[in-house]
């Protein structure tokens, strides 16, 4: 007879096994709880596999929980059939009976089998296509709601627009100024190293000015807006979708696009040129500080800037920024309103808002580069 004995001195369950020509006998003693089950499980399974007939001697069992009952029932199913001996009628028998009954309840349908690779590609394509169609539908809904508001501007929730302007704009000023200043400093320093070799340090304001006003200012401001505001839009609207607040609006006869999306879109579109301008100014100041350390007076730097950049550079950059803002707002709101159910859906919506926002502004930036080149700006 082999017995599994634990090292601990407190009363714990033991299992003794006996196998002969008449079958296998497993005798359990002590409290058969989750801890004992975890300890005895591997050996008990080994001994019961193919044991015919299997006898489970439970005369020594003093307590039984669901895990212990699961062990006994699994042994029974592994052996095909088992004889339970010595289990007194009462609470222990009740636990065993109830667990047996619960495990016998009909199970749900198994998850669908994995599709073959061709089917999988087809499924992904269909899903992407449906997603794209719903995005186009969302753009259409937003355009219709926007035009409707142009015809009846008093319907726009101005207080809501102001709240979003404050959240997306005013509260982002500090971060924008800090990042703009640092980008100006970094650009000026990095460019000064190769330019010094050619004695061309005086052209640093040209490089930094054009880079910031035309490209980096709007782009960096858009990245800030996407990270701060796009994700916030998605999370807020996603939570409202999960909580069925958006459905409640629809049932009240209120268009959620006009009620929830338009104020956010307007705020994002209006705030972006301001953020980009702040980014430009802070970057130019940063560049000016670096030029000062290189021995160039502010007057010289300003004169150089005036010669290098024009109003069209600034205006082009600010226009791009406004379009970036609109795009980030659209992506964020669409991600929020398209959220699924459950807490994970809100996280997914926020992630797709940030990723989608950044991808969209880079794509738009490419389009603007070609457009401005064709227009000769």
């Amino acid at each position: 007879m082999a017995a599994t004995q634990p090292a601990a001195t407190q009363p714990v369950a033991t299992m003794a096994s006996e196998a002969d020509g008449a079958g296998t006998r497993l005798a359990f003693a002590g409290p058969l709880d989750a801890g004992a089950t975890a300890r005895l499980w591997p050996e008990a399974m080994r001994k019961a596999k193919g044991a015919q007939p299997l006898t489970l001697d439970l005369a020594g069992v003093t307590a039984l929980d669901t895990a212990g009952a699961v062990l006994l029932l699994r042994l029974e199913s592994l052996a095909g059939e088992a004889q339970f001996q010595g289990l007194a009628a009462g609470p222990l028998q009740a636990v065993l009976d109830r667990t047996r009954q619960a495990l016998a309840a009909p199970q749900g349908a198994p998850p669908p089998a994995a599709l073959p690779w061709l089917g999988w590609i087809g499924q992904i394509t269909v899903r992407r296509g449906q997603d794209m169609l719903s995005q186009i539908a969302f753009l259409g809904e937003a355009a219709v709601a926007g035009l409707g508001t142009l015809r009846r501007p008093w319907r726009l929730r101005f207080a809501e627009v102001l709240r979003h302007l404050d959240e997306a704009g005013l509260r982002a000023f500090g971060l924008t100024v800090l990042l703009g200043f640092l980008i100006g400093v970094i650009l000026a320093f990095q460019s000064s190293i190769p330019m010094r070799r050619f004695g061309a340090e005086i052209f640093i304001p040209n490089l930094v000015g054009i880079s910031l006003l035309r490209e980096l200012g709007p782009l960096m401001a858009a990245v800030i807006l996407s990270g701060r505001t796009g994700s916030a839009y998605a999370a807020e609207l996603g939570t409202m979708t999960v909580n069925e607040e958006v459905d409640a609006l629809r049932i009240m006869g209120i268009d959620p696009i006009a009620w929830l999306v338009l104020p956010r879109l307007l705020a994002a579109t209006l705030v972006m040129p301001i953020l980009a301008l702040l980014m430009d100014l802070a970057g130019l100041i940063g560049m000016g500080v670096v030029m000062g350390t290189l021995g160039y007076p502010p007057v010289g730097v300003i004169a150089q800037l005036q010669a290098a950049v024009g109003l069209n550079d600034l205006a082009g950059g600010l226009f791009k920024a406004a379009v970036f803002g609109l795009s980030i707002g659209l992506v964020g709101c669409r991600a929020g309103l398209g959220a699924g159910r459950g807490p994970r859906a809100v996280g997914d919506a926020a992630t797709s808002a940030v990723v989608g926002g950044i991808v969209s502004i880079v794509l738009l930036d490419g389009v603007f580069s070609i457009l401005f080149y064709r227009l000769g700006w």
Partner: protein, 266 residues
């Protein structure tokens, strides 16, 4: 890991009451200077279904959250299984927490995990059970609350009543000797609610599991409650304690009478 789960024989009617497993002594709850309740004292005995009842906003759920150690008492003390709830920490606190199970009012299921995985969480953390055993225990618990066919579904894919039942299954995962249920019957259909009441009575009778149930469902209170206390918003504390059926028939407190008879309080 959960301690051994004994299967004591619960006290039958007429037998002396079981040992005290929860002792609440002169408890007060205050938030920002606002008193929710004070001078609340009672004992819960092993194997009984103890009901905390009262009108909306009287502090029933707040009392439950004090009992499970989520809120520190403003005054007084709470002892669970002889351990002061606020006085243990580290491994001792974890050991104590494995001996209680809580079903939250909303279910509080983990949204990114299936119902079976939800139940396996405490088993994985607090027992050394192999995955096959954990899966079978989860299946048994779900079968017990009638959700065997929903094991693979996410909480977002089930109804509110199913979420409540899954919450009970998760609370029972470690077979704790004490279960706290916050509004278990609210929002359930009468058949499911009656089934749940029967399950509570059965577990209390067969396993000696102690239940502390917060509810204001009259039928449920009368069906399952061995003893109860009643909290009152105006009195800011307990206004009654005892057998709910006796309180219904014999109490001379107008609020208690109005509660049990569904009357408008004058």
């Amino acid at each position: 890991m959960a301690g051994p789960t004994p299967n004591p024989k619960p006290a039958a009617p007429g037998e002396p009451p079981g040992e005290t497993v929860i002792r609440v002594d002169d408890l007060a709850a205050r938030f920002g200077g606002r008193t929710i309740f004070e001078h609340v004292s009672f004992e819960v005995r092993r194997g009984e279904v103890f009901v905390i009842l009262g009108g909306s906003g009287c502090g029933k759920s707040t009392l439950l959250k004090h009992m499970i150690g989520l809120y520190p008492p403003a005054e007084g003390s709470i002892a669970i299984l002889g351990e002061p709830m606020g006085g243990v920490s580290g491994a001792a606190r974890t050991a104590l927490l494995t001996r209680i199970g809580v079903m939250w009012q909303s279910g509080a299921l983990f949204g990114s995990q299936t119902l079976a995985e939800n139940i396996e969480v405490p088993l994985e953390v607090h027992t050394g059970l192999p995955p096959e055993a954990r899966a079978l225990v989860a299946q048994a618990k779900l079968g017990l609350v009638g959700l065997a066919d929903a094991a693979g579904r996410l909480p977002a894919e089930i109804s509110g009543g199913m979420a409540k039942r899954a919450g009970i299954a998760r609370a029972m995962a470690l077979d704790p000797p004490i279960l706290f249920l916050d509004e278990p019957s609210a929002g359930l259909d009468p058949i499911t609610s009656a089934g749940l009441d029967a399950l509570i009575k059965q577990l209390a009778r067969d396993l000696g599991t102690t239940f502390v149930v917060v509810t204001h469902e009259l039928q449920s209170i009368l069906a399952i409650g061995d003893r109860c206390i009643m909290l009152d918003k105006e009195a800011k504390g307990m206004i009654a304690e005892g057998d709910p059926r006796k309180l219904r028939d014999e109490s001379d407190n107008p609020t208690v009478r109005a509660f049990f008879r569904r009357e408008v309080l004058a």
